[in-house]
């Protein structure tokens, strides 16, 4: 008898988004099972962050379905999606600059779930999360004074503070040193150990090969390839999409 597969956490079907009369996502569909790590890759402007904004409730899609644990969450307000257990980080960090780092995390602990599910000892939990991302020594610093890579880590701690089941990570390893990338890899694997399901945007392919179970490659709003990392990265269409970007921009895009 075949082994039971874990339940489906997120199921996207035929998603279509038009922004300013321009289609940004077209017929996007894939699914995530509990405990999986899936990376979204693709050149700039492929629609990766738009996809996150749709999943988190910031952008309302014109068509398609989003099922989270079987429930259609399309059109839900961002705070409701968060409270249902779907948290995200922002590619460009959005710290509450005038609050301390600790207070930033406390906001998620207080509001990330409905008031009936209050956390015990929020302060202790906030400190634990800061330890997980290596920001304990900055707890009392105001968040606006953090470096870029510290702000990224704060994004992760804050998203975790809402006690999510599905975590969307947007470019948490972009621009980091190789050492810091390795720390990010370890962090992601540790989060999976805790039972989280992860959807990761990774334009620079820093994390994908090391942590992902599967890749989904987007180009101009459409899925051009999906499957195991080695297969997707060698897919001619994916290479062409990244090469096209390299030619037009002259930067090194595909560097596993």
């Amino acid at each position: 008898m075949a082994q039971l597969e874990p339940p489906i956490c997120l199921e996207i079907e035929d998603l279509g988004v038009i922004l300013d009369d321009r289609p940004v996502l077209r017929a996007v569909g894939f699914q995530l099972r509990r405990g999986e790590i899936v990376s979204i890759i693709g050149p700039n402007g492929a629609g990766k962050t738009t996809l996150f904004n749709v999943l988190a409730g910031r952008i309302r899609p014109q068509r398609g379905r989003i099922r989270y644990w079987g429930e259609d969450i399309r059109g839900w307000a961002p705070h409701r999606i968060c409270r249902a257990g779907l948290a995200r980080t922002f590619q460009i960090a959005r710290p509450f600059a005038e609050m301390s780092v600790l207070e930033n995390v406390l906001i998620g602990l207080w509001f990330g779930k409905s008031p009936t599910e209050a956390v015990l000892e929020p302060r202790r939990q906030a400190l634990e999360l800061l330890e997980l991302v290596g920001l304990t020594h900055k707890a009392e610093t105001s968040a606006g004074a953090l470096t870029l890579s510290e702000q990224r880590r704060l994004e992760v701690a804050r998203a975790l503070s809402t006690r999510p089941q599905l975590l969307l990570l947007d470019e948490i390893a972009a621009g980091l040193s190789p050492q810091a990338v390795n720390q990010a890899v370890e962090l992601i694997l540790a989060l999976r150990e805790r039972g989280l399901t992860l959807l990761v945007i990774d334009h620079f392919l820093n994390l994908t090969a090391k942590v992902s179970d599967r890749l989904v490659a987007l180009d101009q709003g459409e899925i051009i390839a999906a499957g195991s990392p080695s297969r997707v990265i060698q897919n001619p269409e994916v290479i062409a999409a990244y090469l096209g970007e390299r030619e037009s921009r002259g930067d090194e895009a595909i560097e596993p």
């Binding site: 988190a56 307000a77 705070h79 922002f90 509450f96 005038e98 906001i107 998620g108 207080w110 809402t162």
Partner: protein, 330 residues
């Protein structure tokens, strides 16, 4: 806004309150001082109510709309239905809150300067309607002969709100304390943290589970209700109102000036601004330059924004904060 800043807010607030409660019996003041400090409490309360919206990160230039609706609601309820004054004031307050609800529905997407300009413009709508609906509102003649506030007998202690300046002073002080309570909660409570998160970055706040539209709505409705309550009180204290008096730009701008001068992020900041600036204007400046006292407010706001953008209340907090910081780091 940790326990440290809460004590910075609680102690001066309690001190200011004691001073306000205690001075009339001790000093046996002349009428002008009761009048001036009573109105200082009144404008302090309006500033606190205004700041409820400002704390969510939106600057209103149109709170005179709520004030005027509250004043006219109360005055007309008094005139047509002869309701008891405090019931009439309640009707005015509800009317003001309803107008706040209208703001919420129509200005939902506006931020920054767009919001400020929209609020500024929104004062004109009720003003023009009331100014021209002669048959119902008496138009530009205004409403006259509004009932005086009643006399209360509290176990032998008679409070004649209609004529006694001392009783009126304590009524306005009570108004200040009530609004101050809500304002304190908007800084130091779970709700206060939500407000602060919304102010700093509403997108991030929403992503962390804060119900941003609800927080904004609560703050705005409460602010409108309390401001309109002030308008109703004003109508019954003055006995007459007219459109340019209660829908004036002055009433929209004064709370802003007092709050920015006093301190936007401290529970007692707006009150401090009112207690310093209003008496200074009425008792000192008005004597030298009777027709130009608006100049004082203009000057103060420019100086405050240039040299002390967090208001004079921040002097207190900053000293405490830097002292605390050097203690923990050293």
């Amino acid at each position: 806004m940790s326990s440290g800043t809460r004590s910075i807010d609680l102690l001066p607030s309690a001190g200011v309150l004691l001073l306000l409660l205690g001075w009339p019996p001790v000093a046996a003041p002349a009428d002008i001082y009761l009048r001036v400090f009573g109105l200082a409490c009144f404008y302090g309360a309006l500033a606190l109510a205004w700041n409820l919206v400002a704390l969510t990160g939106l600057l209103s230039l149109g709170h005179a709309a709520f004030f005027g609706m509250g004043a006219y609601g109360a005055a007309l309820a008094d005139h047509y239905w002869q309701l008891p004054p405090f019931a009439a004031i309640g009707i005015g307050a509800v009317l003001g809150a309803a107008y706040g609800g209208l703001w919420m529905a129509t200005f939902r997407r506006l931020r920054g300067a767009a919001f400020a300009l929209a609020t500024l413009a929104s004062v004109e709508i009720p003003k023009v309607i009331i100014d021209n609906w002669d048959a119902f509102t008496f138009g530009s003649l205004g409403v006259v002969g509004i009932s005086r506030l009643p006399t209360l007998d509290l176990g032998g202690r008679v409070l004649d709100f209609g004529t006694s300046l001392t009783a009126q002073y304590y009524l306005l002080l009570l108004f200040l304390v009530v609004v101050g309570g809500f304002h304190f909660a908007a800084l130091h409570s779970r709700w206060g943290w939500a407000i602060r998160a919304v102010r700093e970055d509403e997108t991030a706040a929403a992503a962390l589970g804060v119900n941003v539209p609800a927080v904004r709505a609560q703050a705005l409705l409460l602010s409108a209700l309390l401001t309109a309550l002030g308008g109703g009180l004003y109508a019954h204290l003055m006995g007459l109102i007219e459109p340019p008096l209660v829908f004036s730009l002055h009433l929209s701008a004064l709370p802003l000036v007092l709050t920015i001068f006093g301190g936007r992020y401290r529970a007692f900041g707006p009150v401090l601004g009112a207690l310093v600036l209003y008496p200074a204007d009425q008792l000192l400046f008005h004597r030298w330059l009777p027709s130009g006292h608006a100049l004082l407010y203009g000057l103060v706001i420019v100086i405050a924004l240039l040299f002390c953008p967090r208001g004079i209340a921040a002097w207190l907090s900053w000293n405490r904060r830097s002292a605390w910081k050097s203690k923990t780091s050293g």
